[in-house]
């Protein structure tokens, strides 16, 4: 191979003058975040404009539609409550996806891991003897995490040992998880004590229920756990050796190996943590919203969380804001449908557009850098 003198090899002679350290730190944090935020918002605005055109094509005033959307999600205590409840699982799964993606692992199996986490929580909630709520909920949380983590460990292990594509395996495991739960709630775990048995598990014990912490709403303690989880994940990613090694493996596997990092193992760890967080989402749905296990406990939170994580720039704290936004969209879409007749499905369109524009910006900026 011959070495070429190319543009990459050319050394820039100029260097910026030295300024005070502190001012640069502030600059780099604040300015960069506003820029990031700005481009995220830009993606959103463009997506809203495109969708407005489509709504007008259906002979509906887009302004009215959007007003209904905002009113529905944020215009009432009920709407806000609903928004927070929907945002909670999105935060958990979104955090998991942020970790996995940072580590170069494409976890598309959020839904499957959520199902398994819900199963783990239900088993603890239904079949354990009564005990103090703090202990019960802690065990339930751990169980949800472990079940989700083990489910994610399957694709992660196959990837580590055999180089299997984790995208395909995680997606396929979503279906397996869904049908596994269908079978369990219709068979072994079915609640036969009811007058008319339906495919649902028994209710979890009262001590396993996540308490509602704002009266007259549905907002349960799962939301607080989600916020705490965001801080923990942020700490892991930014302040620990584990986070450093996960990020390094995802950023440049060659350099990470050089740095003494076992890249394959770090991918495995990232995936398992990711699945565990999705599992907690399932636990929080069972213990905070439904109180029993049933079919279709996730309306596609796993896929939506990918949009959440990308929109947040894979930043754990950004995931919270992003999840609130997408939660509001889900809630608002329903009231938009009832108020002006725009079908809920258009919201999927909006989600898709946002992802496309966010990704387009990334690809373009990368292209500009290399070109």
């Amino acid at each position: 191979m011959s070495k070429e003198i190319g543009d990459d090899d050319i050394v820039e002679a100029s260097n910026p003058p030295l300024k005070k350290w502190t001012s640069y730190i502030v600059d780099s944090l604040v300015v960069r975040d506003i820029k990031e935020l700005g481009s995220g918002l830009l993606a959103l605005i463009v997506a809203l404009l495109v969708m407005a055109v489509m709504i007008s094509a259906a002979k509906i005033n887009p302004l009215e539609a959007y007003l209904a959307l905002v009113k529905g999600s944020l215009g009432s205590l009920n709407g806000i409550s609903e928004t927070l409840v929907r945002a909670t699982p999105l935060i958990f799964i979104g955090l998991g996806i942020a970790i996995a993606f940072r580590g170069g692992m494409w976890n598309i199996g959020g839904d499957g891991q959520l199902y398994l986490g819900a199963l783990g929580a239900t088993i603890v909630g239904v079949y354990l003897p009564p005990m103090p709520p703090v202990i019960h909920i802690t065990i339930e949380l751990l169980s949800g995490f472990i079940f989700g983590a083990l489910w994610a460990a399957i694709p992660a292990y196959l990837k580590m040992r055999r180089g299997t594509n984790e995208i395909v395996v995680t997606i396929m495991l979503n279906y397996i998880a869904e049908f596994l739960i269908s079978y369990l709630v219709a068979g072994p775990m079915k609640d036969n004590t009811r007058l008319i048995p339906v495919p649902e598990s028994r209710q979890i014990a009262a001590s396993a229920v996540l308490p509602i912490f704002i009266p007259h709403t549905q907002i349960h303690a799962g939301f607080l756990i989600a916020i705490a989880a965001a801080f923990v994940v942020w700490l892991i990613i930014e302040r620990t050796v584990l986070g450093y090694e996960i990020k390094a493996g995802g950023e440049n596997a060659e350099a990470a190996r050089y740095g003494g990092i076992n890249v394959l193992r770090m991918g495995f760890v990232a995936m398992v943590i990711s699945g565990g967080l999705a599992g907690i989402a399932g636990m929080s749905e069972v213990a905070g919203v439904h109180y029993y296990l049933m079919d279709g406990i996730t309306p596609g939170y796993g896929f939506l969380a990918i949009a959440v994580a990308l929109f947040a720039g894979l930043n754990p704290l950004g995931v919270v804001l992003s999840a609130l936004f997408f939660g509001a969209l889900m809630v608002g879409a329903e009231s938009m449908q009832s108020a002006v007749g725009v079908p809920v499905a258009t919201i999927y369109l909006l989600e898709g557009l946002v992802i496309i524009f966010v990704l387009a910006r990334r690809v373009l900026s990368r292209h500009r850098r290399s070109g």
């Binding site: 191979m1 003198i5 990459d8 050089y258």
Partner: protein, 502 residues
């Protein structure tokens, strides 16, 4: 047939081609010979329309032309076969053959006709090929042949072969030479870009030697010999002269015994390499890139599992250790291409300053980083090695190449290593940064470190090393003391010549 006159090309101040005159006659096999970075690829890329020359004129079949893009070049009958082939692996031979051409039976493909043409060509060239085989199942030589005849079918009169034998086995190389002979007989011109002397002597009519972007001379192959060409190729003026006290080698730090590494296709890329380095000396390994240098460095640092042989560092066997464990034995590793191999572009300078030691105290305790210690460490590296950066929080991708290399050097040397392994440590650096690297490495040697310098830059090896060996095709030559070095001999060996018995 082709005449390039006064071609110059600069890349942001670095002269890659300096007023080059070059011509090729009809039916001639012309070798463009030079070391890595001598400017031969740049010249060919200008001819093929990938780069635009800053100065100079191009004449083709008697008239002056401009080539704006590879499509232009192909339309004029100039074709290039790259080192890395441009066939589509999952397509069949015939499908690849018709790529880039209109079908006579549009909108349908005329595969039968293509196959028939191929049958005819394969008989003419005495090469057995199945038009329906998948390209991925062919050996490298046959793939290359397919690429050559595809270029011919586009109407090429001049064929540029860029280092065509680098991926071939000796038998495939023979077949390629046979093909080239036949092409020349048909009146096609071939420009054979290479750094291998024996191939030049074997197959070419004339040779133009480039060195540091300039033409050293054009000679008829029958009027010259390998030794003269070697001298033309490497003869040079010394750039730096750094005072260095004589080496005082002490205990053996690194001992390598018959290390063998095989590639995925079981082909050996390191063939039983043995060497020894002592404290306070620099062992330089010269060689043209791609002869096993990377594999050697990776094997020594644990990044590449070895198939047989043994490695000891300070009498401890490290042949089977993980990269992390080898690093902890006191091995600093400065790989080539630091952007890809030794730095994390989207990590801050501070975070990069602890790579390879990031799990150790004082930077981390119980798995949690201690930012103040990391900042202090980064600051001291920045100050001691004069890394030009506004602050340690800056992302590494914003550093210039020279400053990044300084950072890697600073980081690796800050661990007080026993052994330093450096691969092409100054590739792509400007003169100032280069000198800094040289001085630093010599200082480390004087401090009693053992240094293995693997470099494609012969000047660099001669400038720095106390003992010198040449690596060629995965094997290492006898090690020569630097004061007894015969430059011509080295150049000869780098190009695959046999070592003189002495």
């Amino acid at each position: 047939m082709l005449r390039m006159s006064g071609i110059s090309k600069k890349f942001a101040g670095v002269v890659a081609n300096d007023h080059i005159d070059f011509e090729i006659k009809e039916g001639e096999v012309h070798s463009l010979l030079g070391e890595n970075g001598s400017g031969k690829s740049t010249l060919m890329k200008i001819l093929y329309g990938i780069y635009r020359a800053d100065e100079g004129r191009l004449f083709w079949k008697g008239e002056e032309i401009r080539i704006q893009s590879p499509n232009d070049a192909i339309a004029r009958g100039i074709a290039m076969v790259h080192q890395h082939l441009t066939l589509i692996p999952i397509f069949s031979v015939a499908e690849n053959f018709i790529l880039g051409r209109r079908s006579p039976r549009e909108p349908f493909l005329d595969m039968q006709a293509a196959a028939a043409v191929m049958e005819k060509l394969s008989q003419e060239f005495d090469i057995s090929i199945d038009p329906w085989a998948r390209v991925s199942q062919l050996d490298a030589g046959t793939q290359q042949w397919l690429e050559i005849i595809r270029a011919l079918s586009w109407g090429a009169d001049l064929l540029i072969l860029d280092e065509p034998t680098s991926l071939l086995t000796p038998q495939e190389t023979e077949r390629l030479f046979h093909t080239i002979d036949l092409l020349a007989k048909r009146g096609k011109s071939v420009c054979f870009v290479t750094h291998k002397l024996n191939e030049t002597m074997r197959i070419c009519n004339r040779v133009t030697v480039l060195r540091r972007g300039k033409v050293v001379g054009t000679v008829d192959v029958c009027d010259t010999g390998e030794r003269e060409l070697a001298r033309m190729m490497v003869g040079r003026d010394i750039q730096f002269h750094i005072d260095r006290p004589p080496a005082k080698p002490k205990n053996v730090v690194l001992k390598v015994d018959r290390v063998q590494v095989n590639a995925k296709d079981k082909r050996p890329v390191l063939k039983g390499v043995s060497l020894e380095i002592r404290e306070g000396e620099i062992l330089g390994i010269a060689g043209v890139t791609g002869n096993g240098q990377t594999e050697l460095a990776r094997a020594l640092t644990g990044l590449q599992p070895i198939d047989s042989g043994n490695i000891w560092i300070s009498d401890e066997k490290t042949s089977r250790l993980l990269p992390k464990q080898v690093a902890q034995k006191g091995v600093a590793y400065i790989p080539d291409q630091p952007w890809q191999k030794a730095a994390l572009a989207n990590f801050s300078l501070e975070q990069n300053s602890i790579l390879r030691v990031h799990w150790q105290e004082p930077f981390a305790k119980w798995g949690v980083f201690r930012p103040s210690e990391i900042s202090r460490h980064a600051r001291s590296l920045i100050e001691n090695y004069d890394i030009r950066t506004p602050h340690g929080q800056m992302l590494a991708k914003n550093l210039s190449g020279g400053n990044l290399q300084k950072l890697v050097l600073a980081r690796e040397l800050s661990r007080n290593p026993k052994l330093i392994i450096a691969v092409n440590p100054t590739a792509g650096l400007d003169v100032g940064a280069k000198e800094f690297v040289y001085k630093t490495l010599l200082e480390e040697r004087n401090k009693g470190r053992a240094i293995l310098l693997i470099s494609a830059d012969l000047d660099e090896v001669i400038e720095l090393s106390d003992r010198i060996a040449v690596i060629y095709a995965g094997g290492i030559s006898r090690i020569i003391s630097a004061d007894k070095v015969d430059l011509e001999e080295l150049g000869f060996m780098m190009a695959g010549g046999k070592q003189k018995k002495s």
